[in-house]
Symmetry: C2
Subunit: 324 residues, 2 copies
């Protein structure tokens, strides 16, 4: 069967990689991408259109669903910055939970039978003891940031809509992503950019401005992330939630060290108080067993390869910015 | 210390009883009540004003907070009908979670140090086995209705705002209420009204239209509910959640039987398919131990007394409506 994909947040980092993946698959009748602002569209080997759409405008969302009649909806649109959610909790909530409700509620009313992938976050778990890692999907959720609360609400609404109305919705708790295209307001690209700048200016040392570098996170290459999303469309069970993660925890200190080795320079860290967040979770590492057991997914890109690709990518960007 | 109370949802059933309670307490400097529509105000032995306010209008909420400077906020405003939340899930969500966020976010920005009582619901728990009853506050939440999801989000936001920003917010999970003033869209008053009508028309039998009468709920008299809210203002711990319940489960069948005895008529039930809800929880009974241990609260009104008062109350209403 060929699918009519709808992708929200199409201008974002993850959507670009999902489109690259679809270009390799044979299941795509067409793709409609929506976002509040659009980047220049690349060519793809399938009909691809983009459209400005504010998901807070529920009437516009409903009209679009009835017109396009998607069979698969990848919901990536999100106010996804945990730190920023502390500065603007109401906006974080509205632009996660309410936009999702504005998508699934007209879908419910319309009776269209699209499969929805509701992307959530490891922030839903909240803080746990090291002995409770890796996190499994059955663990009670205890979100500790405004963003985490919004994501839990999105997931619980998904479950209620799947079980109560019989809708076809699959949920993820996606852990940290790394890969080309992520903006440098996120932690790893911000590190890599600073290291790339130093390497290109022939410095031997790079002092990276950081928050708390002891925190441990589970990073998965974005190309493996989108592969998991496609597998979940194919084989996931409606109303179920799946961790999307590597299963390995790495501290930010370890990442800084690895970046130094790749770039061939000495990297140290300098704490910037403005980057320290309230309620920061100390260690977040997931188990990908459910995803692996129920789909054909496995991670294909090593962490070292991800970082190498990322350093090369940021060197290119820095050079391009300089020659502008 | 005397308090400046702000009560949202002041036109509702619970607010009326809380105002009656404040009339007996000596801690009230003034009360401002807000709602989207106002009923005729009764006189109270303290300065009492009411005002139309739509909590979805965050600018108006902020202006009101800065003007009135409350020291205690009882947040009762809610789209609180579980059945209706299945018909209008988006409205249920907006009119529970978003209105709460519109209250606490300007409160946070203003730096006012009010204590907030965030009223939640037993619907947050979701369905459990009979062997897991009574429900204690540490039990993982697994809401199974749009309303339940909205209430979980409200509670989790309360905790995040208390822990992350140091705000003074106490949460409840309030179980079913009974008592004079509750509208007959709720189950017990709808039963009592039908029984009162039959009793007044000298019928010997009353066939009550019901949903599933096997479901078991934990009913607490509204006068004991508001007493718990006042105790929590006095002695509750910020960031903590408290069940507000009787601790005793009663099936709707038992209530019908008790009503028949009080009214002196034969009561039977007739299932109305439109009253059967998706995902209905079979048994919901709470433990009030935490509330009892941490405050001076105990329930003072027996279930039988509640039902007697309710039958008398609805007989009066039915007679009044007839003589109009």
């Amino acid at each position: 069967m060929k699918h009519r994909y709808l992708i929200t947040g199409v201008s974002g980092f993850v959507a670009g990689h999902f489109l690259n993946l679809l270009a390799q698959k044979q299941d795509c009748e067409s793709v409609l991408g929506v976002d509040i602002q659009l980047a220049a569209a690349k060519p793809y080997p399938f009909p691809f259109q983009t459209q400005i759409l504010n998901l807070l405008d529920s009437a516009a969302v409903e009209a679009l669903l009835l017109e396009y009649r998607p069979t698969r909806i990848l919901h990536l649109a999100s106010f996804s910055n945990v730190g920023a959610s502390w500065k603007a909790p109401a906006e974080s909530f509205t632009n996660n939970t309410n936009i999702f409700l504005n998508l699934i509620e007209p879908l419910r009313r319309s009776g269209l039978s699209a499969r929805v992938l509701s992307v959530g976050s490891s922030e839903e778990y909240g803080s746990v003891g090291l002995d409770e890692l890796p996190l499994v999907e059955t663990r009670p959720l205890s979100p500790e940031s405004p963003y985490g609360v919004a994501r839990v609400a999105q997931e619980q609404l998904s479950r209620v809509f799947a079980q109560g109305y019989g809708m076809d919705i699959i949920m993820t708790r996606s852990f940290n992503h790394i890969g080309p295209g992520q903006r440098d307001q996120f932690v790893v690209p911000s590190f890599v950019k600073q290291v790339a700048l130093s390497a290109l200016s022939k410095s031997r040392h790079c002092r990276v401005r950081t928050g708390n570098t002891k925190v441990i996170r589970d990073f998965l290459d974005v190309r493996d992330v989108v592969d998991a999303y496609w597998e979940l469309f194919e084989r996931g069970r409606s109303g179920e939630v799946y961790n999307v993660c590597s299963g390995t925890g790495r501290s930010l200190d370890q990442i800084l060290e690895a970046l130094g080795e790749i770039a061939g320079i000495d990297v140290s860290s300098e704490t910037d108080a403005s980057l320290i967040r309230p309620n920061e979770l100390m260690a977040v590492v997931g188990s990908a067993l459910k995803l692996k057991n129920e789909t054909d997914w496995s991670a294909k890109i090593s962490f070292e390869q991800s970082l190498k690709d990322l350093v090369a990518h940021w060197k290119e960007i820095v050079i391009m910015e300089r020659t502008k």
